[in-house]
Amino acid sequence: MMAARFLRRSIPVLRQARCYADAPSGSSQMSFTFASPTQVYFKEASVKQVDVPTLTGAFGILPAHVPTLQVLRPGVVTVFNDDGSAAKFFVSSGSITVNADSSVQLLAEEAFPLDQLDVAAAKANLEKAQSEMASASDEAARAEVQINIDANEAIVKALE
């Protein structure tokens, strides 16, 4: 077994496009960085899994995931630590990068742990935004109100 491991390491790793069917090569640890402009939650930490909400759907990212770039939408990010505990954060928007060497950078414009959010305030904001939708005049204003509604809906859903 030791010889096989040694042999595998001595073969130069060719960087080719990887499909889902290929066996993963590379490290089995994920170097996870999760930060907002004002706060760092994880810095090059080793975690088991991260669930992220993106514009194209919700992803679960494990070590040696296929490299990808995605844009986040308002929703809940769940981080499963190595010891099994899970931490939930609400993110407003941002981007996630999974690189070939299994490093993941999750950059959120605003991110807060769920327990810092108040569900009553979110519901009130949601109702206010929904009533503003009727009075929104032009495209830009309507888009802003829609973003407001989406974000507040996501917060309320996350807290319930």
């Binding site: 960085t33 930060a35 402009p37 004002t38 941002g94 981007s95 070939a100 950059l107």
Partner: protein, 300 residues
């Protein structure tokens, strides 16, 4: 007794007369020295208080820099790991974003960034590439407007009074993208903070959407469509500008602290020297009066 007293006084007076006749300017009166001393003491108070204000702002900026650094390094990680480069040899358009501020009295902060930008413009135009400059901060605009005014694309003011936020960076990026200048690659030039007494002018690369999409290593990134890539790139641009702003403010406040500190020290030195001159002058005036009295009494 009075004879010996006269002799001593006269020798002293002779010495001082010889000293003064060797000088070009007139001897300053006590009044002049007093005025000068008062004004330098006021200046020292001002520079001391400016130093303390800068120290407080520096402490806050450095605290905010720590998470901003992790965030900024995460933002450029893609470019480093995928080794994204613009195609060589093609006449591509460059964009330089110089990050500085509106306020002076901070040492060589603004001129360092301006020097780096001028050098880059010289190399790029020498290679026949097109270059435009966006500057954040009025001081930088003043320096560049004198010689390179036709390269200026966009100028931002009201920078430096309050600590920069992510919103500021996004405003800069939005205006820049609305200008419609189709650049292929570029750089953000800022002062990277190293320690309280040192900073270094550095740059971080930025790329356009097409450059990133056509770069060779992008093929390994799965499931990317044009919309996602555009969103991602715009967000990355804001991140890099934010990172440059944060580092720049920290360097600026630490440079201002050092500059005001040395100004205060220089003012103290001048005050010491002037106080000595004041005392010498005062003694000379008293001696002169004594001589007049004594020679007047001797004449009787």
């Amino acid at each position: 007794m009075s004879r010996t007293c006269n002799d001593n006084v006269l020798t002293y007076l002779a010495n001082s007369v010889c000293f003064y006749s060797g000088q070009v300017r007139n001897m300053a009166t006590l009044k002049d020295i007093t005025i000068r001393l008062k004004s330098i003491k006021n200046i020292q108070k001002i520079t001391k208080s400016m130093k303390m204000v800068a120290a407080a702002k520096y402490a806050r900026a450095e605290r905010q820099l720590k998470p901003a650094r992790v965030y900024g390094n995460g933002a450029v990680a893609l470019y480093e790991k995928a080794e994204i480069k613009a195609p060589e040899g093609v006449a591509n358009k460059h964009l330089l974003i110089g990050v500085s501020s509106d306020r002076g009295l901070c040492g060589a902060v603004h001129s360092n960034v301006a020097k780096a930008i001028k050098a880059k413009i010289a190399t790029l135009t020498g290679e026949g590439k097109e270059v435009m400059v966006v500057n954040v901060g009025d001081k930088l605009r003043n320096i560049l407007q004198r010689t390179h005014s036709n390269y200026l694309l966009l100028s931002c003011k009201e920078v430096g009074r309050k600590p920069p936020t992510f919103t500021d960076a996004s405003i800069v990026a939005t205006e820049l993208l609305n200008m419609g200048y189709e650049f292929d690659q570029g750089a953000v030039i800022y002062n990277r903070f190293r320690s309280v007494i040192s900073y270094k002018t550095d740059e971080k690369p930025i790329f356009s959407i097409d450059t990133v999409a056509n770069s060779e290593n992008m093929g390994i990134y799965d499931d990317i469509d044009a919309d996602v890539l555009r969103n991602y790139q715009e967000f990355a641009l804001v991140n890099i500008i934010y990172f440059g702003l944060k580092e720049s403010t920290t360097s600026e406040q630490s440079a201002r602290m050092t500059a005001m500190d040395s100004a205060s020290k220089n003012a103290s030195e001048m005050i010491d020297k002037l106080t000595l001159t004041f005392n010498r002058t005062r003694q000379a005036v008293i001696t002169k009066e004594l001589i007049e009295i004594i020679s007047g009494a001797a004449a009787l």
